[in-house]
Symmetry: C2
Subunit: 346 residues, 2 copies
């Protein structure tokens, strides 16, 4: 089983997830609704790619459910012995392996305080699943590749499914379209491979997005770093314009993701600046014609049922780009140096 | 007034801050103590360098005061119109200019909900100061350089002063030693300049720390990016070992900050791995002999009164390194390309 196989497996994983986990997620949503007046905040504990799923959760919970969600800093608990108050807090832990001691420590501490806890993991027999009150099974099957792909989209889908279960029928219908939306992204493989070829000589890159898709920029960049060993820096468009735009120069490709929605106008403006003031090599992935028109390389994105669900599909283009960039740089995506599948950091 | 002048000005700014703001901070601490049972969480709104002050606040408030502090995602409010619940929440906004509309929007929304709000700003006549219930004046004087230095250390000092005001006499005494501690760091200029010369040909770099000093790694990296246009990637040691350690290769200098404390042992272990498995070019700044012993380039750090205060001093070494790296690369630290002092992102 190669990384490529696991990328291709994602529509099937998504279908299986939605089928097998629907009942568990409905039950969790009902329990959370019962305890809604005790939940004022959400704390999310994660590391690596799961951190980017946590960022997605921050936007989904904040925009769609009015909940302030913050990312836990696990070392505070595991190293410094802090026991921050989890009053009125829902704690969500995201970990493929469920084996990271510092993530488990955050859930243990929350549980001792009586806070509701949810684990999103691909191993229901893990320490994390045992520690949490509720568990959502990523249902992704064994992930052999060291770089996470199908467990990343499954994590996002878990968060989206919980949001839809707390939402209305339109949300559930939109959610049901995601396996197909992920499948449509696979058709971009040829386009992403040829862009990767064009990027093969760069050892630095920038990935920019805003709003929901900021999680995609983060995940895309880390895939490029881990696999292709290119210094890819992800930015929210707001922070990018504040300073790091200074990094744009010849030999530094810029990738910008623009989805139709409230963040689009500002990104189109940024694209104009990148073209006029920087003469930058800009790849644009978008379903917004004005954004595509400003690109050096334009990749039209298949539409999705709702903006808030888009990152579950969009990231697949990033996975394909990172895979082909790795090959184009003469490296083996199935034998990356120096990363291990399970983080055991304390 | 040059960037170099403003770096050198920091001990004086710190002294002035502590003298002029003591009464206001004591009053704020007293008010927060009175409302302590209404405060279960802290949300911090910031952008750019202030984001790194927010990370410092996360650790200080979590470890020393048992408060979960999360970073706001301002675009949720400003772009998507979300109005997340701020029940039982203290909202702290950090902005040198106080002019960023999206940061002001977060404070406005919190205030409408009746949440206590604090602005840490260098402009007490700003929109942010007007929006917040309480204001702490960075008292840094006009910052002419586009790269923030003295307002960054003043922001950290503001957070530390608030923590000390909520703490005991030993905390206040330790705080009082910080102008001197910042002054001691200035004596490292020669060492940092010669390391910068050695790094002059690298267009990529890694900065690693953990715990309180993670904020320093983030701030150091952004200074290198903005001024020297080097892709400097900051990591918490835990995340670094999970994947990005793959980026270590010849031509990529690694900078590691190790302060005596709970995070030191893990960092010393990482340093051993970087030396034995990667033959990496590693600069270590530390007050821990075991860490310095593993370095290609060792910079002994002057001791500080308490680990939690160390980032206020340590970052000065990073500022000096970034300044000299910029010059060594033939660029002008007083005329960086493409960054503007005030972010007006919505």
């Amino acid at each position: 089983v190669s990384l490529h196989d696991e990328i291709l497996e994602q529509p099937a994983v998504a279908s299986r997830f939605l089928e097998t986990q629907a009942a568990a997620i409905d039950a969790l949503a009902a329990a959370l609704r019962d305890r809604r007046d005790q939940i004022e905040h959400v704390v999310i504990a994660a590391r690596g790619s799961s951190d980017h799923a946590a960022i997605y959760a921050q936007y989904v919970l904040g925009i769609r459910h009015g909940l302030t969600a913050g990312l836990a800093t696990p070392s505070m608990v595991s190293l410094y012995g802090a026991d921050p108050s989890q009053a009125h807090t829902l704690v969500v832990a995201i970990s493929q392996s469920g084996a990271s001691p510092d993530i488990v420590a955050v859930v243990d501490a929350a549980r001792r305080q009586g806070a509701p806890t949810v684990a999103i993991t691909n191993d229901t027999a893990s320490a994390l699943a045992a520690a949490a009150e509720w568990t959502i099974d990523m249902s992704a099957g064994p992930e052999r590749s060291i770089a996470a792909t199908k467990t990343y989209t499954a994590s996002l889908l878990a968060i989206a499914a919980l949001s839809a279960a707390l939402g209305d029928d339109a949300d559930r219908r939109a959610l049901g379209s995601m396996p197909g939306a992920i499948g449509s992204m696979l058709e971009l493989e040829g386009a992403m491979a040829s862009i990767a070829d064009a990027h093969a000589r760069a050892d630095r890159a920038l990935v920019v997005a805003r709003g929901y898709e900021y999680a995609t920029a983060r995940e895309w960049a880390i895939k490029i770093k881990e696999l292709a060993h290119v210094f890819a820096d992800p930015y929210s468009a707001a922070d990018f314009q504040h300073g790091p735009v200074a990094l744009v120069e010849p030999g530094v490709p810029v990738i910008v993701v623009v989805r139709d929605g409230p963040a689009a106008a500002g990104l189109v403006e940024l694209l104009g600046r990148l073209r006029d003031d920087f003469d930058a090599d800009v790849t644009v992935l978008s379903d917004v014609p004005e954004a595509l028109a400003q690109a050096s390389r334009a990749v039209p994105l298949p539409p999705v049922a709702a903006e808030w669900l888009a990152p579950i599909a969009t990231v697949v283009a990033g996975q394909l780009h990172a895979l082909h960039l790795t090959r184009a740089r003469g490296l083996d995506p199935d034998a990356p140096r120096s990363i291990s599948k399970v983080t055991r950091t304390r």
